[in-house]
C-alpha cells in the first residue's frame, strides 16, 4: 500500500463514514457503544494514537454509526490496573472493547470475562493471546528483516551495523530484534558490532549510543525500532563521526533531519514504523464485527514506510513534533478483513 493511497484514504473518511453505513447490507450498529482501553499515554506515538481515535471515532459517533466511542487510559501502565479497567467497561455495558494491552497474557482473564459477557474484544498493537479476542497485529519481525534488506541494497558489500533496541523485556523489542537477526543471517556480509537499548526514546538512545561509540569501529548502518533514530544521529554528530545510514522510525523530527541532510549532502535512507492510526482500524474492525460481519481472528496491518520519494509529502502532512500517521476508514477495514479471509 503506498502512502499517497493511505493519505487519500484519510481524506475520504468524512465521506465514507456516512455513505458506507448506508449502503452496507450489515445490521445497524447505531445504538452500540465501543470503548478504547489503552494502557499508556506517555509518549508522542500514544498521544497521536489517542488523537486519531478522537478524530475518527468521534466523527463516527456524530454521524450516528455508533452511539459512543469513549477512550480510557490507565495511569500506571500496569496489567492489573488495566484488567480492573476492563471489568469496569464490562459493567458499564459496552458492546465492544478495543484494547491496546499492557501484556500479551496477563489480561487474558479479564478478556475472557468480557467475551463471556458477550462483549467483542479487538486487541491491536499490544495484542492479547486469549483466543476469544481478535488481534490486529503488526509483523514486527518483518519490520526488522526489512531494515537489513534495505541496507543490503544500499551497501552490497555489507559492513558494520549498530543495533538500537527498545525496552528490554517487552514483546515488541524481542520480535523486531529477532527479525533483524534473521536479516543479518540471510545477509552475512553484515555484522552487528554493537547493541544498545534506547527504550524507544530519543534522549535515552542518544545517551546509550554516545557511550558505546568510542569503542566501536566505523559504523555503516544503524538499525532501529522507532523513536530512536534522531538521538542516534545526534550522538554520531557529537562524536564527529561519518553519518551512517540510519533507518528511521517516522517521527517528524527524524524526517525533518533527513530532509535537511538530503538537501545538504544527498543523504538517503528509509523510515518505517506503525501508524498510530492503527487504533482507528481497530475501531472499524470492531464496528464491522458488531454489524455481524464475519472477521478472521488474526488480522495483519501493514507498517507505514517513508522512502526518499515520499519524504516531502509525508513530512508536509505530519504535524510539527508528531509522528507520520494514517487514519483508516470503514472501507480500509473491510479491505483488510477481505484480504485476511482470502489468505485463510
Amino acid at each position: 500500500m503506498t502512502i499517497s493511497r493511505l493519505l487519500l484514504g484519510a481524506a475520504a473518511i468524512a465521506v465514507s463514514a456516512g455513505v458506507a453505513s448506508a449502503e452496507s447490507h450489515l445490521s445497524e450498529t447505531s445504538d452500540m457503544r465501543i470503548a478504547l482501553s489503552n494502557n499508556y499515554a506517555g509518549n508522542s506515538w500514544r498521544q497521536a494514537m489517542l488523537q486519531s481515535w478522537e478524530e475518527v471515532a468521534g466523527k463516527a459517533v456524530e454521524n450516528g454509526v455508533v452511539a459512543a466511542a469513549d477512550a480510557y487510559t490507565t495511569s500506571e501502565n500496569q496489567a492489573t490496573e488495566q484488567a480492573a479497567q476492563i471489568q469496569n467497561l464490562i459493567l458499564q455495558g459496552y458492546d465492544a472493547i478495543v484494547l491496546n494491552a499492557a501484556s500479551p497474557t496477563a489480561l487474558n482473564g479479564a478478556v475472557r470475562a468480557a467475551c463471556d459477557a458477550g462483549v467483542v474484544v479487538v486487541s491491536f498493537d499490544g495484542v492479547v493471546t486469549e483466543p476469544c479476542a481478535w488481534r490486529i497485529a503488526v509483523d514486527f519481525q518483518q519490520m526488522g528483516r526489512e531494515q537489513v534488506e534495505y541496507l543490503a541494497t544500499r551497501l552490497p558489500d555489507g559492513g558494520n551495523l549498530l543495533e538500537i533496541r527498545g525496552l528490554a523485556g517487552v514483546f515488541v523489542d524481542d520480535e523486531i530484534h529477532a527479525g533483524i537477526q534473521a536479516g543479518v543471517e540471510a545477509n552475512p556480509q553484515f555484522e552487528i558490532v554493537g547493541s544498545v537499548h534506547g527504550d524507544w526514546a530519543q534522549d535515552v538512545a542518544q545517551k546509550a549510543v554516545a557511550g558505546i561509540l568510542p569503542s566501536l569501529p566505523e559504523i555503516d548502518g544503524v538499525v532501529t525500532q522507532g523513536g530512536d533514530g534522531y538521538g542516534a544521529a545526534q550522538a554520531f554528530e557529537a562524536a564527529g563521526r561519518d553519518m551512517p545510514i540510519i533507518v528511521l522510525g517516522n517521527r517528524q523530527d527524524e524526517m525533518k533531519w533527513w530532509a535537511e541532510m538530503r538537501d545538504e549532502s544527498g543523504y538517503e535512507t528509509l523510515s518505517l514504523s506503525i501508524a498510530p492510526g492503527v487504533a482507528t482500524l481497530a475501531f472499524w474492525v470492531s464496528q464491522q464485527i458488531l454489524a455481524g460481519a464475519e472477521v478472521p481472528k488474526d488480522l495483519t496491518v501493514p507498517f507505514l514506510k517513508v522512502t526518499q520519494d515520499t519524504l516531502d509529502e509525508t513530512l508536509a502532512a505530519t504535524p510539527e513534533g508528531s509522528v507520520a500517521n494514517v487514519l483508516y476508514s470503514q472501507e480500509d477495514a473491510q479491505k483488510v478483513i477481505a484480504d485476511a479471509k482470502e489468505a485463510m
Partner: protein
C-alpha cells in the same frame, strides 16, 4: 593516601576511574577522549538532579522526592513551548523552568506539611498531576529549542561540555550552601535529629520547605537543559532519572539515614552510572546481564563505602 581513601566520596570516583579505564581499553587512543566527553555531558544531568535529591535525603529517613521525572518533563515541555523555537528566548525559557520548579516544590511541600502525607506518597501522587499537565499542555509534540540555546547545550568550552560546566557550577553553589552557610548547618542538624534540632531553635519546617523547593528547581533546570540538549522535550524524557537520582546519592557516599551529605561523591557517581552502562554495552553484555551486573556493582560500592565509614 589513607586520608583520601577514607573519604566516602572517594569510592564513587574510584569506581568511575576503573570503569573508564576498562572501557577505554577497547578503544584506540582517540576513543578515550570521546568517552570522557560523553560521560561529562550525560553525567551532568544525573549530577544536577542528584544534587537536589541529596539535599532531600539529607533531611533524614523517609525524605525523598519521587516527582523528579515528572518535574523534568513538565519544565522541559513548558519551557520549550514558551520559547517556541524563537531566537533570543533562552532566558525566558529558563525563567519558565525555574517557575515550574518553584511551583512544583511548593505544591509538594504543601501536601507533605498541610496534609501530613509521607513524602514518598505526596511526591508520587503529585508527579501524576505534573505528568498530566505536561501531556495536556502539549500532547507530546516535540518543539525544537531555539538554535542558540541548542548550540549552547551541545557546545563546549576548552573541550569541556557546557552542560558539565553548568553542573559543576551548581555543585559548587550547593557545596558552599551546605558546608559554609547557616542553612547548611540547619539542614544537617535537622537530618541528624529533627526533634533535637527543633528544640535547639532550628526553624525545621522552613528548612524542609527550602529543601523540597531546591530539589524541584534543580530538576527543572536539568529538564530544561536536557530538552535543549536532545532537540526537544519528550513526555518520557525524565523516566531514566528517578532511580538514577537516588542511585547517585547513595553511591556518592551520602548517608541514606540522613544528616550527612556529600557533593563531590554525587558527581563521581553520576559519571560512574554513565560509564558502567557504556562499559557493559561495549563488551556486548545483553540487557539482562547488564542490569544484574549494574545492580551488583552498585551494591558492592555501597557496602565498600559504608564499611569503611563504620570502621572509622
Amino acid at each position: 593516601m589513607e586520608k583520601i581513601i577514607s573519604r566516602p566520596w572517594s569510592w564513587s570516583w574510584l569506581a568511575a576511574a576503573l570503569t573508564f579505564a576498562i572501557t577505554s581499553a577497547l578503544t584506540d587512543g582517540s576513543g578515550a577522549g570521546a568517552l570522557a566527553y560523553a560521560a561529562l555531558s550525560f553525567g551532568a544531568f544525573a549530577a544536577i538532579v542528584g544534587l537536589g535529591q541529596m539535599i532531600v535525603i539529607t533531611l533524614g529517613p523517609g525524605n525523598v522526592d519521587l516527582s523528579i521525572p515528572a518535574v523534568m518533563t513538565l519544565s522541559g515541555t513548558l519551557a520549550l513551548k514558551a520559547m517556541g523555537s524563537e531566537p533570543g528566548t533562552a532566558m525566558l525559557g529558563l525563567g519558565v523552568a525555574v517557575l515550574v520548579g518553584l511551583g512544583t516544590g511548593a505544591a509538594n511541600f504543601a501536601l507533605i506539611y498541610a496534609l501530613r502525607l509521607p513524602p514518598i506518597v505526596a511526591t508520587l501522587a503529585a508527579s501524576l498531576v505534573y505528568q498530566s499537565i505536561a501531556i495536556w499542555s502539549n500532547r507530546g509534540l516535540r518543539i525544537k529549542p531555539p538554535a542558540g540555546l541548542a548550540d549552547f547545550a551541545t557546545g563546549r568550552v576548552l573541550g569541556v561540555p557546557n552542560v558539565a560546566l553548568v553542573g559543576l557550577a551548581l555543585a559548587i553553589v550547593v557545596w558552599i550552601a551546605l558546608e559554609r552557610s547557616v542553612w547548611g548547618r540547619w539542614l544537617l542538624a535537622s537530618g541528624q535529629n529533627l526533634r533535637a534540632a527543633r528544640l535547639a531553635g532550628v526553624p525545621v519546617e522552613t528548612v524542609r520547605a527550602s529543601a523540597y523547593v531546591t530539589v524541584t528547581v534543580l530538576a527543572s533546570v536539568a529538564g530544561y537543559l536536557l530538552a535543549s540538549f536532545s532537540g526537544g522535550a519528550a513526555l518520557n524524557m525524565g523516566q531514566d532519572y528517578l532511580l538514577m537520582s537516588i542511585a547517585v546519592v547513595v553511591i556518592g557516599g551520602t548517608s541514606i539515614a540522613g544528616g550527612l551529605s556529600n557533593v563531590p561523591g554525587v558527581w563521581g557517581a553520576a559519571l560512574f552510572m554513565f560509564l558502567v552502562v557504556s562499559m557493559l554495552n561495549s563488551y556486548g553484555a545483553g540487557a539482562g546481564v547488564r542490569m544484574v551486573l549494574t545492580g551488583l556493582i552498585i551494591i558492592g560500592i555501597v557496602i565498600a563505602a559504608s564499611t569503611k565509614r563504620a570502621r572509622k
